[in-house]
Amino acid sequence: MRKVAIIGTGHTDFGFNSPKTGLELFCEAATEAMVEANVQPKDIQALYCGNGLSDFSEGQIMIQSYIADSLGCRHIPATRFEAACSSATVAIRDAYMWVASGFYDIVLVGGTEKATAMGTALATRTFAMGTDARYEFPAGLTFPGFFGLLANLYAKKYNIPFERLRNQMSLVSVQSHSYGVKNPHAQFKKEITVDQVEKAFMVASPLTLLDCCPFSDGAAALVIASEEKARALCDTPIYIAGVGQASSGMLSCQYKDIPRLKAREISVKQAYDMAGVGPQDIDVCELHDCFSIASIIAAEGLGFAEFGKGGQLWEKEETRIGGKIPINISGGLKSKGHPIGATGASQTVEIVKQLRGDLVGQERQVEGARVGLVDTLGGDGILCNLILKKERE
């Protein structure tokens, strides 16, 4: 397999009520990535687009072919990846495979979503389509409910006094907002306090509104190239050193593992082994913090803390810049926003910028970062991980 690099990135603002269509958002992120990569529409050999809900939000299926045509990438193969919140990460993993195999040299990959136009009730309904339609949704399961179940199980299983877990979860949201303020693309540029998180209205106990990421609109994109093309086109290629993906079934069927998510442990091990690194080698991580408890569970699954002790990373500020493992310096899904089809591409763009050293001006650069990890969770059980490295081995 050939070495594969990311040579261009693009990212729209994330937010509420974008006046643009999902297609328009993708095209803006994509052209930014193409300009950065110094490639033209004729150079793009395939387009992979993560998208979860354009059917419901805009009445649009097969958005990928309209995107390719609008971008001037005429008649290329264009494919939509639907893996709920991990749609774009799964798309990037496949783009990697096609370039690594030698089939393509340059691929455009990203994701787009317009969720806020649906309103809270329909958006909650469509997000719940990521649960089992016959054995979970009829019981009334929603996505905050999924993580509410896990949060209470976590407190019980690891025998953590609820007040302590409550505080740890609040610290996750507070940190995300403290960095979101510095991210020009973030949906929320506003600091919050532990007290505000705990006093916000309950969405699905024990999770309040400020434990939950928002519905968002936005897009992000990357240009992926073979090493040979990357060296010709780009001074600062960022290499995809490891990839992993795994899935699992409905929540009740994961009973032997939860609150651990076994698929994550399998996926990230694939990525670590392929890249020849371990959790101790990761300089910066973007992980899937759809809910505050999800960050704690993810940090453990990725190997940054013992099981039951993930929250201590935030208590000790180990997850901030300068700490043992800087996590979600973008503001995370909580503060930056969570346009589900675009989320994994956004996380990857963030890690690329961290490894290139682009974020000094935003005062959120992890100095000297060389190895970064992307972690995205779709629904109850699609996990995808990417490890990016600054230098070629």
């Binding site: 809270t120 009730a121 329909l122 909650t124 309904r125 719940a128 389509m129 089992d132 339609a133 016959r134 054995y135 979970e136 949704f137 009829p138 019981a139 009334g140 399961l141 929603t142 905050p144 409910g145 509410g148 179940l149 896990l150 949060a151 209470n152 199980l153 407190a155 019980k156 609820f162 209205f201 309950m202 969405v203 699905a204 106990s205 024990p206 999770l207 079934g249 409905m250 929540l251 009740s252 069927c253 009973y255």
Partner: protein, 136 residues
């Protein structure tokens, strides 16, 4: 190969408060809700079996923000229950004030009944779901 316990059969039994699962002839473990294969050993060698419907609460959440057209149901409590036969299933906890749901409920015994979700425009018809009642 035929699906061993299709939703339609599981659902019509549940509407009569009968909980069906699948017993594996290879490893003897029970799978519920139904799958194509044993959730323990992936064997296809399964037979339909009736489960007792009692178990213990393993975790819960109280839902305050509902999906479209289910707003009139909130607040309600969802539990994951470990059945006496081993598998976990999801259902609603009934006969409780949702505001009083707490971690103390974990480990308490419950018995199953059912309630029917009539379905919405995105569902393929109605679906019975387990509803649990506290035994202690």
């Amino acid at each position: 190969m035929e699906y061993p316990l299709p939703f339609e059969r599981y659902n019509s039994a549940l509407k009569k408060n009968i909980l069906l699962g699948l017993k594996c002839r290879q490893c003897q473990k029970i799978t519920c809700p139904p799958q194509m294969t044993c959730q323990e050993c992936s064997s296809f060698d399964l037979e339909i079996t009736e489960l007792g419907g009692t178990g213990t609460i393993q975790t819960y959440t109280t839902i305050y923000i509902a999906a479209e057209n289910r707003e009139n149901e909130v607040p309600y409590v969802i539990v994951l229950v470990e059945l006496e036969e081993g598998p976990w299933i999801m259902g609603e906890l009934s006969a409780i004030n949702p505001e009083e749901a707490s971690l103390d409920m974990i480990g308490k015994r419950v018995r199953m009944g059912n309630r029917v979700f009539p379905g919405d425009r995105y569902s393929n018809g109605s679906a019975a779901r387990p509803v649990f009642y506290r035994l202690d």
